[in-house]
């Protein structure tokens, strides 16, 4: 089945020259966009059009374009990564939009993620949280035999679920408090469920928590919005585990 062509759509996108400047929305009209295009392809076409018109293209983050790097941080029509669920922006298709629609594209609005340019933000705050405790210091050697340390299927599954976090920041971008709790919980859970993560278990949750507060992310109100926005459907039950780990320490 051939994809429908949207003869005209309007993209209302945040333009900001540098971290210090004020920034404002600009609306551009694009013609003949196939619904088979991905959202980022649409953005490429928009940028191509802007360059031809001698204008500055819209800066947006992207890399893998297959939902694994977590860099395509766009807030589209009131949804992190757009109106589809369980996808990143690069996996979002124009099928989710209709003829003549105005699509609002904003950067993550998180104090700890300052805008670099246009809709591109600096997510290195997540790396700082990760560096504060998201590691193990035991030497696990080469790839060991799968059965040398026995782990229950349930624990392995939960650790793997947590490990699917790609650090995209949709959780913090969606949270009304700009809280990084789901990210933090995913990282802590991932280690807490495996024997290799036990050495630092006493300090991990605490130091990552302290870092999150220090960087200016908000606290968790348990609204559950992050779980719905997360492209990897990381469950907020990991947040309960994070709190448990913290209170144990």
């Amino acid at each position: 089945m051939a994809d429908k062509i949207l003869s005209k759509i309007h993209v209302k996108v945040w333009r900001q020259n540098n971290p210090k400047s004020k920034g404002k929305f600009e609306t551009y009209t694009i013609e003949n966009i196939s619904q088979g295009n991905s959202f980022l392809e649409m953005m490429d076409i928009l940028n191509d059009q802007l360059i031809r018109e001698g204008k500055d293209p819209v800066a947006f983050d992207h890399d893998c374009r297959e939902g694994i790097c977590g860099s395509c941080s766009l807030y589209i029509n009131g949804h992190a990564h757009g109106p589809d669920s369980q996808v990143t922006t690069c996996q979002l298709h124009m099928r989710k939009f209709h003829e003549g629609q105005t699509i609002t594209v904003e950067p993550w609005r998180v104090g700890a993620f300052p805008v670099i340019k246009d809709v591109m933000v600096d997510r290195s705050a997540f790396e700082k949280i990760q560096q504060a405790g998201g590691f193990i210091s035991v030497n696990t050697g080469g790839a060991p035999d799968g059965n040398t340390i026995l782990i229950s299927q349930l624990d392995a599954e939960e650790a793997m679920d947590a490990a699917t976090c790609i650090g995209c920041g949709a959780c913090a971008a969606t949270c009304k408090n700009s809280s990084a709790m789901l990210f933090l919980a995913a990282k802590v859970s991932h280690f807490a469920k495996l024997p290799q993560g036990q050495v630092e278990a006493k300090t991990r949750a605490k130091s990552m928590y302290a870092k999150m507060d220090e960087l200016g992310f908000g606290a968790c109100s348990n609204t559950g919005a992050c779980e719905l926005a997360c492209p990897k459907s990381i469950s907020i039950t990991h947040i309960a585990r994070l709190n448990r780990e913290y209170l144990k320490a």
């Binding site: 109106p83 998180v110 200016g216 348990n222 919005a225 309960a240």
Partner: protein
């Protein structure tokens, strides 16, 4: 300890523990209040109020309850302020994921309205019972112990002032909404939750919220309809 207090999770643990304590108090409060509608002579309710007035355990709990409220309210304000600061710029396209009325998004607004009600509520009853006294409180005839006619004070308000009926019904609904999120959220905050309990706690929170809302709202409605 000081790092625990200044950490966002530390504050939330206090919110959660005080919140659960307040729910416990409200359960007792609601149970006793329901005596109002199960005995129109008022005797049952007066006995209960008298018991609350004289029982030493309850006397000890009263300042603790006030403290619980104060801690809950102060941390609520601090947390909410910091949470708002964490997002210096709002989204033009808003939040289309959770509905605007979701209790979890509106805990501070719900709480503030509950607080406003609480002040009014204290003036309606507590101040008259404890400080100023009121002619309506004259000892009920025919009782063998000396006790205040609290029933008279309450029923007078609900029978003669429909505006208060409305306010008390709304307050019941607000508390119900606050708790329909607060109850399970409190367990989540102190880490007592997992995949299986998530569903149960959320379900229980809704049930408790509905019981509180209906229970508290039923009392003024009963007086309005019956008398």
């Amino acid at each position: 300890m000081s790092s625990f207090l200044s950490a966002s999770i530390g504050r939330k643990v206090f919110m959660s523990v005080t919140g659960l304590f307040l729910i416990l108090f409200l359960s007792l409060h609601l149970t006793l209040n329901l005596f109002l509608i199960f005995d129109d002579s008022g005797n049952l309710f007066n006995q209960a109020a008298h018991f609350m007035e004289t029982n030493p355990m309850i006397r000890i709990m009263e300042p603790l309850l006030a403290l619980g409220f104060i801690i809950h309210i102060i941390w609520a304000a601090v947390l909410t302020y910091n949470n708002m600061k964490a997002r210096p710029q709002k989204y033009e396209s808003g939040d289309q994921l959770l509905s605007w009325w979701a209790p979890s998004k509106n805990m501070f607004i719900l709480g503030s309205m509950i607080l406003a009600f609480l002040v009014l509520h204290i003036f309606n009853f507590w101040v008259k019972l404890k400080i100023t006294g009121d002619p309506l409180l004259d000892y009920p005839a025919g009782s063998n112990v000396e006790m205040l006619n609290t029933y008279n004070l309450v029923s007078n308000l609900f029978i003669n002032y429909p505006i208060y009926d409305l306010i008390y019904v709304i307050a019941g609904l607000l508390v119900g909404l606050h708790i329909s999120h607060g109850f399970w959220s409190a367990f989540q905050t102190i880490g007592l939750n997992n995949i299986n309990w998530m569903k149960r706690l959320k379900c229980l929170a809704n049930i408790i919220g509905i019981i509180f809302a209906i229970g508290f709202a039923a009392i003024p409605i009963y007086f309005l309809l019956k008398f």
